[in-house]
């Protein structure tokens, strides 16, 4: 899949970044300066952190230490990391129930994130939220939300506050292809466009809503971004397996939002390599399809690219991996050693 952006706003030549010879200006190559090397290694570190975190979650789910529903972000790391790398500290992020990747990319404490999944008192929400509901308001991370598409108007409201307070901060709202069939998806896109809210609608199109492929449940094919013309929202498609392409496309959209252009829409084509949740036997899709996408695994392809471009040595990559693995092992230990919440916590935080 070619990485490309296709802004679709009509009659907006200044807005659009026209494709050159069928290839977009978002090449995924990025610049090659010294700072870029540091930045790119950081992007890899975050992606690898998410991958290792998710693998550890799966393992501890099997052991029964993590319960409830567990939705892993494995395969989609380039999307969340690339997108979130463009944000400032005063921006908000709103996520869906597959939220671990976004939380870690935002820099939420790894120990406390893991402890939340373990349901412990040291968790981000004292063990009251669990996997699908990670929060850290101090970092502008306004949740993991588990009713499909329910988080969209929340994001619009956070953006409304940013607009009301006359800042140039913005809200990045993640949602999946499944949420586009909810009525509130339309309601929120329209409201945000009418009010020119500083919100970036970030669709992670991983091709499946639980066990239903988009093709089975959506009229009009697998592309959502062309539909944004209806709302007058500039929209672009990007290769969600290419972290630099995601970063560059998002930077462009973020820049426009900060300038007061109103909402923007990015559709990243991506894929989860594992099932919908840990309870999923994946009867609805063939292993061939999964294997095809796995060949584009950003955890493998991105470091290869960095080495090829001379931006990192394989020793450096291995060092990053070793450091992350250690961090994850410590996070699991932290979670395991943490106390269960006191029963008195049952009654706190219901009302302010």
């Amino acid at each position: 899949m070619a990485s490309r952006t296709k802004p679709r706003e009509k009659s907006s030549s200044t807005d659009a970044k026209p494709a050159k010879n069928g290839k977009s200006v978002v090449s995924g190559r990025g610049n090659t300066g010294v700072n870029a090397a540091t930045d790119y290694i950081e992007l890899f570190r975050q992606m690898y952190l998410i991958r290792e975190f998710e693998l550890a979650c799966g393992e501890n789910y099997s052991k029964g230490l993590i319960r409830g529903f567990l939705h892993l972000y494995i395969g989609q790391e380039a999307t969340g990391v690339g997108a979130i790398s463009t944000l400032r500290a005063d921006d908000y992020i709103v996520s869906h129930y597959r939220d671990h990747g976004h939380a870690l990319a935002r820099g939420l404490d790894v120990n406390r994130s893991m402890a939340e999944l373990f349901g412990r008192a040291t968790g981000l929400s004292k063990g009251k939220g669990g996997s699908m509901h990670l929060f850290d308001a101090a970092k502008g991370f306004m949740g993991g939300h588990a009713i499909v598409a329910g988080q969209l108007p929340l994001a619009a409201g956070l953006a409304l506050a940013q607009q009301y307070q006359k800042t140039d901060a913005l809200t990045m709202c993640f949602f999946g292809d499944g949420s586009t069939n909810q009525g509130v998806y339309h309601e929120t896109l329209n409201l945000a466009a009418v009010w020119k809210l500083p919100v970036l609608f970030f669709l992670e199109n991983n091709m499946y809503g639980m066990g239903s492929s988009i093709e089975r449940v959506r009229a009009g094919g697998i592309d959502f971004y062309p539909g944004m013309a209806t709302y007058g929202i500039p929209a672009a498609e990007v290769d969600g397996m290419d972290v630099l392409a995601v970063k560059e496309a998002t930077e462009y959209a973020v820049d426009r939002i900060r300038k007061g252009d109103g909402p923007q829409f990015i559709e990243a084509k991506t894929f989860r390599f594992t099932g919908h949740s840990l309870a999923d036997g994946q009867k609805y899709r063939g292993q061939e399809e999964v294997k095809k996408w796995e060949q584009r695994d950003p955890i493998a392809t991105f470091p290869e690219k960095l080495i090829k471009m001379g931006l990192a040595s394989s020793a450096k990559i291995e060092a990053v991996k070793a450091e992350v693995s250690k961090q994850i092992a410590l996070a699991v230990k932290f979670a395991e050693d943490s106390p269960e919440p006191d029963i008195s916590e049952l009654f706190t935080d219901v009302f302010a």
Binding site: K126, H133, P153, L154, G157, L160, V184
Partner: protein, 325 residues
Amino acid sequence: MPEIAVRQALKQGLEEALENDPRVFMMGEDIGEYGGAYAVTDGFLKKFGPERIKDTPISEQAFVGAGIGAAAAGLRPIVEFMSISFSLVAFDQIVNMAANLRYMSGGRISVPMVIRAPTGAGVQLAATHSHSFETWLAEVPGLKVVCPSNPYDALGLMRSAIKDDNLVFVAEPALLYGARGEVPDEYYEVEIGKANVVRSGTDITLVSYGYGMRSVNTAADVLQQRGVSAEVIDLRSLSPLDLDTVLGSIRKTNRAVVVDSARRKGGVMAELAADLQQLASEWLDGPIMRVGSEDVPWPYNRGLEQAALTDADDVLNAVAEGYGL
């Protein structure tokens, strides 16, 4: 003391907040240019401007959710439903989002927000436009629900609701917008969660709220003529529910009738009656009698609708049936 209508009392509470707190703003369908379906916000757009008086598309989920987001970010939105019947399409946002955010975030996020909505049957709008969902919402942990029956409480509760750091749902009985009453010039608030003994009595306790107060007040007048002294309690707040005030009254009267103008089945009065039978059985001389509107979809025809709606006769019948008074 000046006498004003409920509509004006609500308007005064909203206007004060808009004047005094720049974080307060309003959203809703046709609250601006049109002036509000029940004219509560008439003139606000001109006075406060379109940034603070926001006309919304007909998208209840989106604008309620947007209110929740704005509140989570530190603003104090006041969101209006044109009718409580339209809140149903936004229940996911109210119940799953607003009520849960604080708990799920371990207390890190609050939703200081007011939702206002006209509620109740009685004006021949038929089954889809006559609901009283405040009774459903009162069950949800994390929400506060109030329902004023007079101008004094309307202003006092609105002031408290806007100052509260939680989501407070203000159900405004549609039939009472024009009801008049005295409101003092001096500033006051009505505490959320405190019932009001509106009439002292010794023989029987009548409990209601909102539009149901019309029926119990009329019934109390009739009982007085019969030499029966009724104590009348206006709950004012459905969540939290002030059990103590009701229990205190029953200790004195030993008799109780609980009255709702919403449908009888389920709801706040079922909850109240269940608690009372457990906590007050030793003082009660008879069964706690429940009165509510008929358990049918609201009919359009006036005669049918009135037959379904709770009235003073229903209350008097319950008093007679339960206690022979």
